[in-house]
Amino acid sequence: MEDLIKKLKEEILEVLNLEDMDIEDIETEAPLFNDGLGLDSIDALELIVLMEKEYGIKIDDPKKGKDIFYSVKTMADFITKNQ
């Protein structure tokens, strides 16, 4: 799980062009959107593409997106359960 979380953080930094940040700046359980990392709806689309491209997981139910992409931890949990 630790390796997956580290890999996810690296991928998030890359696909979202978070140039000024390191993986240490992303708290594993902190929210990715709004008050947390401050990501927005375009970032959400990038994360959906990331999930499908890198992990082969398609999000069929858009309503679940809010919970899946709440934090790096919730993303990692979802990948572990569905891969």
Partner: protein, 351 residues
């Protein structure tokens, strides 16, 4: 209505404008590509939008904001941009995605930002100007068409001030494609472009230059944009076209103090300018493409130089083609053409 240039902002291979060191010395490029000297974009654009922007958008938006700062204008009445190729880097990215991933899983950011009008849209968001917003895409006549639109809109009294500019970026794929059809001289630096004008090709450049045009002259005004004309293929000789254009402004060639020519070192194009030597024999002849390189909206760089010459009353030594001395610079003409197809004349006066 008169049309004044009240502000300029530029990101060019010679650095940013305005700057006190601009053109004090020529930046030399031996790599065959004249890339811009980029400013610290973070000084102009907030971090969140900045992280998504390609170089094309960063250059365009930042030079537009520099221009508005220079004109002491926070919000223009209208926004007009010009580009021959648009956001090529983002277009390449999403087209590569399209083929690599078999038309699935497209990343949204490059797609959203690949449209030609992305710079105009970004400026509108940043300045809160939600009025007329237009982008002109006419290959090598793009900037002239945008400038003409701005000129007519101010001249007719429709708008008081308009932000107008041109932006272009070099990308690897585009450079290689054009190399295959001998657009570029390989291994020739921009300082040796003129002495190598017996062969095909020129040197590629990029840049973004914006102007704040206004009905109202102020203490910071650079010049008055008096008239302009674009021609697709000359219907008759260049001399007649130039004389007719000047006559329409009640001028003769003798009234022109400085002529800025779009000479680019390409043997297949530079002969077109030969006739200007005789027609403007008393004028100071100058060129500019060794400073910015050849690109679709490079005539915006020429307009920057012309306006700065009129304001500073000085012709930089590095652009002079002859030794004619001009005591009082009042009138500047820009003559630019590409492939003997898109010709443009732009006439400015001191104000």
């Amino acid at each position: 209505m008169s049309v004044y240039i009240n502000g300029i902002g530029a990101i060019t291979p010679q650095g940013c404008f305005p700057s006190k060191d601009f053109l004090k010395e020529m930046n030399i490029f031996d790599t065959g590509r004249m890339t811009v000297v980029e400013p610290p974009y973070r000084d102009f654009i907030k971090p969140v939008p900045l992280r998504r922007m390609s170089k094309f958008i960063k250059m365009g938006l930042t030079s537009a904001l520099m221009c508005l700062n220079n004109a002491k204008n926070q919000k223009p009445d209208a926004i007009i941009t010009a580009t021959g190729l648009g956001a090529v880097e983002d277009t390449d990215k999403f087209l590569d995605n399209l083929t690599d991933d078999n038309e699935n899983l497209l990343n949204p950011t490059p797609f959203i930002q690949s449209t030609h009008n992305v710079v105009a849209a970004r400026i509108a968001i940043e300045t809160g100007c939600h009025d007329y917003n237009m982008t002109f895409v006419h290959k090598n006549a793009s900037f002239e068409q945008g400038l003409l639109d701005a000129y007519l809109k101010i001249n007719s009294g429709e708008y008081e001030n308009i932000l107008v500019g041109g932006t272009e970026e070099i990308t690897e794929a585009n450079y290689e494609l054009k190399k295959n059809v001998e657009f570029w001289k390989e291994g020739i630096g921009n300082d040796r472009l003129l002495e190598n004008n017996t062969t095909k090709g020129t040197i590629v450049g990029e840049g973004s230059v914006f102007f704040n045009l206004s009905q109202v002259k102020d203490s910071g005004s650079y010049a008055e944009l008096k008239s302009m004309k674009t021609l697709y293929k000359l219907p008759f000789g260049l001399n007649r076209a130039l004389v007719d254009f000047l006559a329409s402004a009640r001028l003769t060639p003798e009234d022109i103090d400085v002529v800025l020519l779009g000479i680019n070192g390409n043997v297949e194009e530079d002969f077109i300018y030969d006739t200007t030597n005789e027609l403007f024999k008393n004028s100071s002849l100058a060129w500019y493409k060794h400073l910015c390189g050849e690109y679709e909206t490079s005539s915006a760089f020429a307009l920057l130089l012309a306006a700065d010459i009129l304001k500073s009353k000085n012709i930089p030594e590095i652009i002079k083609l002859n030794d004619n001395k001009i005591e009082d610079i009042k009138n500047v003409l820009i003559y630019q053409q590409r492939f003997n197809r898109n010709h443009s004349f732009t006439f400015l006066s001191k104000c």
